[in-house]
């Protein structure tokens, strides 16, 4: 139909690139709002039981390895930086650095997951998986401590799932970048995936203090 449709990367039902970019960005924002509500339910449960069982929660939290948590926080913050740089290089059309930054982001994301995996493994060894031979001999009612771990695994598990999805998205973007699909005028997929990546990072920024630092804070 209209000749604009020969433009690279423009889907048939959009009038122009601007409209397509706007739609994509707004779509991602709407999706992220959904995500906030999704995590919101978990945060509600967390807040309720933390205020109901403060001792058990702080005792349970004290058993988490806050150093690993802090290290992972740094990893994710740096990955947000590399992601932002990736977006920048896609805008300036620097393919080589775009690819570098995407690869770095993926490496950092994978690092996060590996560390998380180690943490989960420790919990398994220590019999701290709720519902599967859970044992607790330190301070606090074991039932309530188990509830903390339940919420801990639900929150970090869902977060880790988002990281895995994020890595998948990055792989697609990387492939598109290597195939020269992006130009200075067409790079919105990088931006939109960036939004997602930053969101997942921000969720962790909330999870880390709520889950890991609760015990440290109560200790004083």
């Amino acid at each position: 139909m209209e000749d604009t449709h020969s433009v690279k990367g423009l889907a048939h039902h959009f009038d122009d690139m601007e409209q397509q970019r706007e739609a994509g960005t707004l779509g991602m924002w709407a999706f992220l709002i959904t995500e906030i509500m999704f995590f919101g339910g978990l945060f509600m449960a967390y807040i309720l039981y933390r205020s109901k069982y403060p001792e058990a929660f702080s005792s349970a939290s004290g058993h988490l390895n806050w150093r690993l948590g802090a290290a992972n926080t740094v990893v994710l913050i740096v990955s947000s930086l590399t992601m932002a740089l990736a977006v920048y290089y896609s805008q300036t059309g620097n393919k080589r650095l775009l690819i570098t930054m995407l690869v770095l982001t993926m490496i950092l994301g994978a690092t996060f997951l590996v560390v998380k995996g180690f943490e989960y493994h420790t919990k398994w060894v220590d019999h701290l998986i709720p519902g599967f031979g859970f044992e607790w001999h330190l301070a606090g009612d074991p039932q309530k401590v188990q509830m903390f771990y339940f919420i801990y695994f639900a929150m970090t598990g869902i977060h880790a799932l988002h990281m895995v999805v994020g890595l998948g998205i990055m792989a697609v973007i990387l492939r598109m970048a290597m195939k020269d699909r992006f130009t200075q005028t067409y790079h919105s997929p990088v931006e939109i995936s960036g939004l997602y990546w930053h969101f997942v990072d921000i969720v962790w920024i909330f999870l880390f203090p709520l889950l890991y630092l609760l015990g440290a804070h109560e200790g004083h």
Binding site: H13, I33, F38, G41, M147
Partner: protein, 549 residues
């Protein structure tokens, strides 16, 4: 007229043939039809459960089926009707078909996500169907804990997974509508030129993306609790069953507005077009939709007046519930005022729209009974509540859905339904509906609790009336099913705009081509104003030299 339609024309239905062309389509119109098929299936499934329930309730004692069976039946009636018919019904069928057409777009913003949403719906549906076939679920559609987490031995997990999955189809639909309405309006289609159908779908979409994830996480927690036996909701394990109710109603009350807001949008279109009149107080009706969407999120606690929540919480939720009633009342007044000095044509869709206003008025007013906390203590969890929400859901949503299907049927299929039969069945449905549900108000006030398999004998007379009504209603909804199918082959072929209606969707041919409009339309007229061309045509002034766009 005849000459135009006689020519074979390529449109979205006959453009491609074959199963693949449907199952892999990204055309919003075809996806709407896919949804229509799925949703219709579930409507009749849910309806069959309802008929079985009513038959059991003809006599006070349980005789037709076991209590276990009855409990599974009402649960599955609720689950199927709420999650697989009422929530997706109007948005995914009529909304999917019409949102791009009404704003002058070629498709929704994310056509592939749209197709994905239909697949997600069906995957969720398969889980739920499997749960139904392999023994069903008996918790009530509300899944109250700890019954659902600890005590029920039915297929709670499978059903929960089904609802969890289906929720994402609803999120994707909402997301798609929001982005489409924001970014893909035709030139000249400003926000205040949008049909009210679009406004109401926009408000609905907001609820879909804000509320659905909360019920998703709630169902997920419920499932995890059932698997791991760790108590988030079961007090025996340290949890709090009231938290579940809060989280559940935080979504499920706004979900009621997901069901009824699109219906209000449909009714606005029907009233305007069959009265040939712009909607009185257009902006108030538009903003009322938004107000309902926002306030709808603040009233969930009115489901919990008797749950031992604090009396002050109860007071606030009661206040907000009255507040949310006002925008609905404003809509009813404006629709009625629209009829003043109009030109009303008694077609089937209008009958449904007027039926909607009447029944929704009763449904809405009885909502005030329930919002008054002191009175709710008595009628909570009785048939009064059952009657109330069926007046809103069936008298409201189903009426509007039927009206909308009739109205846009020539647009969707390029065929007319048989008007005589349609009027007849509309009448049957109206009578059957009232006979079914009106006695339930009285039953409820007399004190008959809901979800009772057997009941004290003094409630029998009203129950028999209700069952009689249900059989009439059940019979009534079969007619449209038959004549709609019949009309797809034998119905009269109408003109492109058989109603002489306004709205961009009537500015293109019926059925529309895949790309919706031959040229991107440019809107120079207000909402509910005839385009200059249509105005000429209605007044019989259209020049012979003018050709169809």
């Amino acid at each position: 007229m005849e000459a135009i339609v006689d020519q074979p024309r390529v449109h979205y239905i006959n453009k491609e043939y074959g199963v693949k062309s449907w199952l892999l389509t990204v055309d919003h119109k075809r996806i709407a039809l896919l949804y229509l098929a799925s949703v219709t299936l579930f409507f009749f499934l849910g309806g069959a459960f309802a008929v079985a329930l009513r038959l059991e309730l003809m006599t006070p004692q349980g005789d037709l089926m076991q209590a276990e069976t009855y409990n599974r039946m009402f649960t599955m009636h609720g689950v199927v009707m709420v999650f697989f018919f009422l929530i997706p019904g109007i948005p995914a069928v009529l909304g999917n078909f019409l949102v791009p057409l009404m704003i002058g777009a070629r498709d929704l913003a994310f056509p592939r996500l749209n197709l994905l949403s239909w697949y997600i719906y069906n995957v969720g549906a398969i889980f739920t169907l499997y749960a139904i076939i392999s023994g069903g679920v008996d918790t009530g559609w509300t899944f109250y804990t700890p019954y659902s987490t600890t005590y029920s031995s039915s297929n709670v997990l499978l059903t929960g997974i089904g609802i969890f999955i289906t929720g994402f189809s609803s999120i994707l639909t909402g997301l798609n509508f929001i982005v489409t309405i924001h970014t893909m309006r035709a030139p000249g289609m400003t926000w205040f030129r949008l049909p009210l159908f679009i406004w109401s779908h926009y408000a609905t979409s907001l609820i879909m993306i804000l509320g659905t994830p909360v019920v998703a996480i709630t169902v997920l927690l419920l499932a995890l609790e059932r698997i791991a036996r760790v108590g988030i909701f079961d007090p025996a394990l340290g949890g709090d069953p009231i938290l579940f109710q809060h989280l559940f109603w935080f979504y499920s009350h706004p979900a009621v507005y997901i069901m009824v807001l699109p219906a209000m949008g449909v009714v606005s279109e029907l009233i305007a077009n069959f009265a040939r009149k712009n909607i009185f107080g257009y902006k108030f009706v538009a903003f009322a939709s938004m107000a309902i969407a926002v306030f709808g999120f603040l009233v969930w606690g009115h489901h919990m007046f008797t749950s031992s929540q604090s009396v002050y919480a109860g007071m606030i939720f009661s206040f907000l519930s009255f507040a949310v009633a006002i925008p609905s009342a404003v809509k009813v007044f404006n629709w009625t005022a629209t009829l003043y000095k109009s030109s009303i044509s008694y077609s089937t869709p209008l009958l449904y729209a007027l039926g909607f206003i009447g029944l929704f008025t009763i449904g809405g007013m009885t909502g005030l009974f329930l919002a008054a906390a002191g009175l709710d203590i008595h009628v909570h969890d009785t048939y009064f509540v059952v009657a109330h929400f069926h007046y809103v859901m069936v008298g409201g949503t189903l009426m509007a859905y039927m009206g909308g299907l009739h109205y846009w049927w020539p647009k969707i299929t390029g065929r007319m339904y048989p008007e005589g039969w349609a009027k007849f069945s509309a009448l049957i449905i109206f009578v059957g509906f009232n006979l079914t549900f009106f006695p339930q108000f009285i039953l409820g006030y007399q004190g008959m609790p809901r979800r009772y398999y057997a009941y004290p004998p003094e409630f029998q007379v009203l129950n028999v009336m209700s069952t009689a009504g249900a059989s009439i209603l059940g019979f009534g909804v079969l007619f449209p099913m038959v004549y709609f199918v019949w009309s797809m082959r034998y119905g009269k072929v109408p003109a492109d705009n058989p109603w002489g209606a306004f709205g961009l969707e009537w500015q293109t041919s019926s059925p529309p081509p895949t790309e919706n409009f031959k040229q991107t339309p440019v809107v120079t007229w207000e909402a509910y104003e005839f385009s200059p061309r249509d105005k000429m045509e209605i007044l019989g002034l259209r020049g012979v030299e003018e050709t169809k766009v």
